[in-house]
């Protein structure tokens, strides 16, 4: 009985750590999208509307994800994580000088999206609280959609066909074959870019 109680407390503490770390990753993502959306390539009248809408939607969703992670962490007895994940914040800092270039901006947020989704994926097997597991899975799916779409956009930008980042009628007919395949590189997702459970924990 005592052992069970101790295990339960340890499980809950780990759940809180993972939720705080997830919130820290979400905060880093929000920050990255927000910085990029303030750059001329997104504020200019000539900015790509599809890309701008994608970035605005993703940023706002990451804000909601951070809030949800923090709410559940506090429900489980932890504190709110208001800061950005230090490891990912450093990556944003390194990338910042080049973010005026659309391809580099997409590359950065894709890297962060993958880290976030893979952190949830890794943690799914560790969460003791079933509500935390359900919430993590519901967020992970949304972030994998971000990643899938961003990979398509990255391919089109790298191929110097930004005009194909468009939802105009007939664009689908002009897309290269790779636009239908690059979004999902593997049949079984890996989690090797997951952030460690304690990476963003609040002491």
């Amino acid at each position: 009985m005592l052992a069970g109680t101790a295990r339960g407390a340890a499980d809950q503490a780990l759940d809180v750590q993972m939720l705080q770390t997830a919130a820290s990753v979400e905060n880093a993502l929000y920050s990255a999208y927000d910085v990029i959306l303030g750059l001329p390539s997104f504020t200019a009248p000539t900015a790509n509307g599809v890309l701008k809408n994608l970035f605005v939607t993703a940023r706002d969703q990451h804000g909601r994800h951070a809030t949800a992670c923090n709410e559940l962490a506090t429900t489980l007895g932890g504190r709110t994580q208001a800061g950005a994940n230090a490891f990912l914040a450093a990556a944003i800092g390194r990338a910042r000088p080049g973010l005026g270039d659309l391809t580099q901006a997409v590359e950065l947020v894709l890297e962060l999206e993958q880290a976030s989704a893979q952190t949830y994926q890794f943690d799914l097997g560790l969460f003791a609280d079933v509500n935390a597991r359900r919430m993590a899975a519901s967020i992970m799916g949304v972030e994998c959609q971000h990643a899938g779409l961003l990979r398509v956009v990255r391919h089109l930008l790298t191929a110097r066909t930004p005009e194909l980042v468009s939802f105009d009628s007939g664009t689908t007919l002009r897309l290269p074959r790779e636009a239908g395949t690059v979004g999902f590189p593997e049949a079984l997702a890996k989690a090797d870019k997951a952030r460690p459970a304690a990476d963003g924990a609040v002491a």
Partner: protein, 213 residues
């Protein structure tokens, strides 16, 4: 009770590879001929216990997607060549779904149960068959792909919250992202972008009472 033997992810992946090979051999051997489509052997996943019933349901959905994408590919004979990106999507995603079915069948066979070769007949009769009948051009097939990927992804989300065996949770957790990457790609190909909904929903998940055959 999950009804599953202990199996970590590495063991599972090895088993999945082995079973995948065995499954292909079985398919080519002619020893176990597929029943005619007009009289399928119908069963239900909930005749299995716990996590195994979920594994059977997910295998049947993956099998359904392999079949639906095959039909979409064959529609080129009537509609003309699909757009290159759509063709790439169908062929690559179909391969993924085949591998996902192998993964779930390895769980079933690892627990001493037969693998699922049939499809989710409930979704087939209620969603995919009518859509295929109505389809007159490639855009309808893309929409069908998005619908059936959405149903499957939603079922995975529900399953992750319902599974008890940790190895099974990890398997679902490694497939669920891929189904959503498919959806992200389709959001671009269909041309509507991201949904504004910040959280996945599980209220359209298929139950284990669906017919399989």
């Amino acid at each position: 009770m999950s009804g599953l033997p202990p199996l970590d992810r590495r063991q599972f992946l090895l088993a999945a590879g082995a079973v995948g090979g065995a499954g292909l051999l079985g398919a080519c051997s002619g020893d176990d001929p597929r029943p005619p489509d007009t009289a399928p052997l119908v069963t239900r996943a909930d005749r299995l216990e716990g996590d195994l019933s979920v594994a059977a349901l997910l295998a049947s959905l993956e099998n359904l997607m392999v079949g639906v994408y095959q039909e979409c590919l064959e529609r080129q004979e009537r509609f003309g060549p699909h757009p290159p990106a759509m063709l790439g999507f169908l062929e690559t995603a179909q391969r993924h779904h085949r591998e996902h079915a192998v993964a779930w069948n390895s769980v079933l066979t690892g627990a001493g149960k037969p693998g699922v070769t049939g499809v989710d007949l409930t979704v087939k009769a209620g969603t995919t068959d009518p859509a295929l009948v109505r389809a007159r051009e490639y855009t309808a097939l893309l929409q069908l792909a998005e619908d059936v990927e959405g149903i499957t992804a939603t079922t995975y989300l529900h399953a992750i919250g319902a599974l008890e065996n940790n190895a099974a949770i990890k398997i679902a957790a490694s497939i669920h992202p891929v189904e959503h990457e498919h959806l992200g790609t389709l959001a671009f190909l269909v041309g509507h972008g991201l949904s504004s909904e910040p959280f996945g929903r599980s209220d359209g998940a298929r139950p284990t009472t669906d017919s399989i055959g």
